[in-house]
């Protein structure tokens, strides 16, 4: 991920460190959004991270 998602540098989503945050701290405007293709890749990574097999 990077500029396409509104990020200044090449980055990765860390699916092994998901956290629950109060909605109130997501204070700033949305800077980007995952494309459908990248959302598919994220879902794949989440399934792997959480060992969802079915």
């Amino acid at each position: 991920m990077g500029a396409d998602e509104g990020l200044p540098d090449a980055s990765v989503i860390t699916c092994d460190n998901i956290v629950t945050l109060p909605k109130a701290i997501l204070a700033e405007a949305v800077v980007g959004h995952l494309s459908l293709e990248k959302r598919g890749a994220l879902d794949h990574a989440l399934r792997y991270a959480l060992d969802i097999q079915y």
Partner: protein
């Protein structure tokens, strides 16, 4: 499972398009209609599940202790977010201020006061294997 013949009236144009798709996919009109019916039923089930989930959280809000964690997070004002959005957040020490990706499904975001996010990092090299597939295996999603 038993099957029954059902008479369905379709527009000529719809039949033409279905037959075209069926020949492209090496299947037949009946199979496409079966899949279509299942998709409609699945969508109705999902919609019902969303409604039930929202009603349940309205009846019994989230555990306040979970909502307040982590207390070190800085509170400004609530933004409107959706699944797949990238938003900056202050996660407190040691993670600090960094972008996160929203994971909670949209139907739940509407009724929750705390939502699930995956932190985003620029630290790729020290974990990163070589191919996108291996990145996925390492539970890191990269374009």
């Amino acid at each position: 499972m038993g099957r029954r013949e059902v008479l369905v009236q379709l527009d000529d144009d719809l039949v033409t398009r279905l037959d075209l798709l069926a020949s492209e996919r090496g299947t037949n009109r009946s199979e496409l209609l079966r899949r279509g019916a299942l998709a409609v039923l699945d969508a109705a089930d999902m919609r019902r599940a969303d409604d039930e989930l929202q009603a349940a959280y309205r009846r019994i809000p989230q555990d306040p202790d979970v909502v307040q964690w982590p207390r070190s997070c800085r509170c400004d004002h609530a933004g409107v977010v959706a699944r797949g959005d990238i938003v900056w957040a202050d996660l407190g020490a040691p993670a600090g201020r960094r972008p996160v990706c929203i994971l909670t499904r949209d139907a739940a975001i509407a009724v929750l006061s705390a939502i699930t996010c995956a932190p985003i990092t620029r630290t790729i090299e020290e974990f990163a294997p070589r191919s996108p597939w291996e990145l996925t295996k390492g539970c890191r999603m990269r374009a």
